[in-house]
Symmetry: C2
Subunit: 476 residues, 2 copies
């Protein structure tokens, strides 16, 4: 890990670095602006002038500011947060992304790999002690837990608990509206299949989680990618234009912390989006797997909360919050509930029994919300460290998003970067990354990487980012 | 349970009843033949004349024999085991069976229902003590069991154990050829999707498990039903004729104990079937979920064992042998392995971790084969009792199969029977049955019922069959 002042004011040092950086990234401080003087900052934050100086030097190292001798520190960074990328035609195309995805996952599953694009929250952030304690009790009290199928819609006890957890939706969800699934992607598949047939066109934000693109590929549907803004999500203007000319059956979307950009759709956009979908009679499948991982104090509302006409099918899981290997997710398919229930039966008969019982008991026991608060904090802290590391080690011209939740960081590298070669070089060094082209059928993201802030940021992580930075700089 | 002599010779009584019945059903004794005299049988079996008389009276009650005063007992039953039903056109059609299936399952899931067509082996026949003991050890030794995805192909430990269990295949299966799935139906879905696209024609035996028909419906493929013989399975002559005129992509088939008929394809048919499929370049997906539940001493070979060219994809699970709620199955997709692995990832990312670890440890611990032997015996005993009950209580003209494994019994009722009404009447009495039309898109099986011999046959079961018999007789 890079050196930071080891004194009591190290937190304030961090605060100053991130405040200034945020101001620059959000264009409150612009190229050429002078930073507040060391003395002034020392007064405001009640730290030594030396601490402020260290913070400014760190920002200089990251390429945000430049010290002018005898004058002070100036913003040297042109505001260049990743903006929406509008070069897609918006026509339905076949999806063939799965080869790439499996190649990358296969390569990086070996032991000793450090996965900077990890898809699972590591064990130390999960409530494993409690889950295991409940498992033991479950085996004792209900030894026949797995001796029959838990046919769709799945374990009632669990559905009741999930319904209780939906209070922030601003509408009442009943347990009988819920269908238990094997994780979010199973829920998305079932909901999608319930409203669209092979050959139908499906809208997604671009870039989008490869799992969503694969669902469309699985059912031989067609995808229309609509450009998304890395801060505000799907571009509603372009979407509106596309809907005027294309016949679209469904839209699969993550309004809260899109994967990979981390974009959070503003509340007014959500409202407008739902109105538009409703106007065109398009089914919305909402993947809200990250919704509970907001960094701000209150949960963002899902699209589902804005839906008065039952066009949204809500999908989520406990994969990012309790354990990915449980494979417990759920769908709230609205009026399509009977069909989704039936499709679940058709595709896999039932979800495994033990994990359903386990999650139900865990939720009944209380403490889920407390666990989530802790988890959110860790993800946010890791995110800050990761952004620091990227600014420290990556070449100038690198741009990042500033996610407000979820734990996904979308990084745009300078245009000259050869990401295929970087991915290969990184693999040789036992570092795996998730290259941008995983998230689109287009070539728009070939200089992007998705990182996740799920692994605790330690010196090994910092070294990995340093290595990537060195490899990138070597490409210049 | 119906009255049987309570003396020491009750086992011999049972033996005489079933020997004679089998002789009649297999046409060794034909209509009009005279049964051996009471005295002769008493000598052969070393029982009292009274016991033989009771056995003969039981057979008379079942409608197999008739006592002629002063003359003896004569076979009154015309050999009428269910024969193949050849009235299907063999053209590809859409499948729409799932509404019916879910209606029936929904209705009969209430508490207090006695399911005579039960889809799961009950707890008392499963090795739950051992599974739970292993679960406890697993939680202790590997508390992080579920904290990451077990990406396809799934847990290596488990695949190694499954490969070891494939020795009776007459060919070596390596662990890397196996893909772990969420039960058999998931395996069938993935294998089917790996070789066929929406709109493609798929061959199945008629009747076939509704799960297979639903897989075809799920992917919007077309089905061609080829008549099956209830003893020997798919009719190869008709199949050959159909293949000459129809373009077929795949065939999903259960050679060992077809669901619902219990048919076991003779070994020479298996060989010929594979040659035919190979000749026409048709992919075979073998659902062998019942293969391990043979009543004879040795396991029948799967089609997979006859396949030299890699056209068979083998599917099975532990749902019928360890616990259905585990949702642990597997595919051996041959040359399609990479594609099936990818499709597994696309459809549900992974199978739940805990059940995979659990089954792996269970298989490692030994004793699976011992458990299977016990299970097979129970299923066979229950089957005998069930056949007895049907012959005792059902109207004349009722015909049954004589399954050699699996535990499924296919019953043909007289033509006049209104099975919809019977199903409804049975549900009112908290008895659920699996009506024949679940197993076909045709109307060929509307007077058939599938029973399963998985529930222990007790007086409650006998009462249920008595009730069904009364309802049936009331329809005359």
């Amino acid at each position: 890990m890079r050196k930071i002042p080891k004194n009591a004011s190290s937190k304030l040092y961090q605060l100053i670095v991130s405040k200034i950086r945020d101001s620059i990234l959000s264009a409150q401080l612009r190229f050429g602006d002078r930073l507040p003087s060391l003395r002034k900052m020392s007064d405001i934050y009640r730290v030594s002038v030396g601490t402020v100086l260290n913070a400014y030097l760190q920002l200089e190292k990251e390429g945000f500011v430049l010290a002018k001798p005898q004058s002070g520190f100036y913003v040297s960074y042109k505001s260049s947060r990743i903006e929406a990328q509008h070069h897609h035609q918006g026509i339905p195309v076949d999806v063939e992304i799965s080869d790439l995805v499996s190649m990358i996952f296969k390569t990086s599953q070996g032991s000793g790999f450090l996965s900077l694009g990890a898809s699972s929250v590591p064990a130390n952030l999960l409530p494993l002690n409690k889950l295991n304690q409940i498992s033991r009790e479950l085996i004792k009290k209900n030894p026949e837990h797995s001796s029959s199928y838990l046919y769709p819609p799945g374990l009632e006890e669990l559905r009741i608990q999930i319904a209780k957890n939906c209070t922030y939706f601003d509408k009442v969800v009943k347990s009988e509206e819920i269908v238990i699934t094997s994780g979010t992607i199973d829920a998305v598949n079932l909901c999608l299949r319930s409203v669209a047939e092979p050959g139908d066109a499906v809208i997604v934000e671009s870039p989008s989680y490869y799992g969503i693109l694969q669902s469309i590929e699985y059912f031989k549907m067609k995808v229309i990618e609509v450009p998304g803004h890395p801060r505000t999500g799907i571009d509603l203007e372009i979407l509106s234009k596309i809907l005027k000319k294309e016949k679209v059956k469904a839209c699969v979307i993550t309004a809260n912390f899109n994967n990979p950009t981390g974009a959070l759709m503003p509340e007014k956009n959500k409202q407008y989006f739902i109105e538009m979908m409703s106007h065109y009679g398009i089914s919305v499948i909402e993947d809200d797997v990250f919704g509970a991982l907001h960094f701000s104090d209150s949960a963002p509302k899902p699209l589902f909360a804005y839906d008065q006409e039952g066009i949204v099918q809500y999908c989520s899981s406990f994969s990012k919050t309790l354990s990915p290997g449980l494979r417990v997710g759920w769908a709230i398919p609205g009026k399509h509930q009977p069909r989704v229930e039936k499709l679940k039966y058709m595709s896999s008969m039932a979800t495994a029994s033990f994990p359903q019982h386990l999650v139900a008991k865990y939720l009944q026991s209380g403490g889920y919300e407390r666990h989530l608060r802790k988890l959110r904090k860790s993800l946010e802290n890791n995110m800050t460290e990761m952004i620091n590391a990227i600014y420290s080690h990556f070449p100038l011209g690198t741009q990042v998003t500033l996610p407000q939740g979820g734990g996904l960081l979308w990084v745009r590298l300078p245009e000259y970067v050869d990401l295929d070669s970087l991915t290969q070089e990184a693999i040789k060094r036992k570092i795996s990354i998730a290259p941008g082209k995983l998230f689109s059928t287009t070539q728009n993201f070939k200089n992007h990487i998705r990182f996740t802030s799920w692994l605790d940021f330690d010196s090994k992580m910092d070294d990995a980012f340093k290595t990537l930075g060195r490899l990138l700089k070597a490409q210049i």
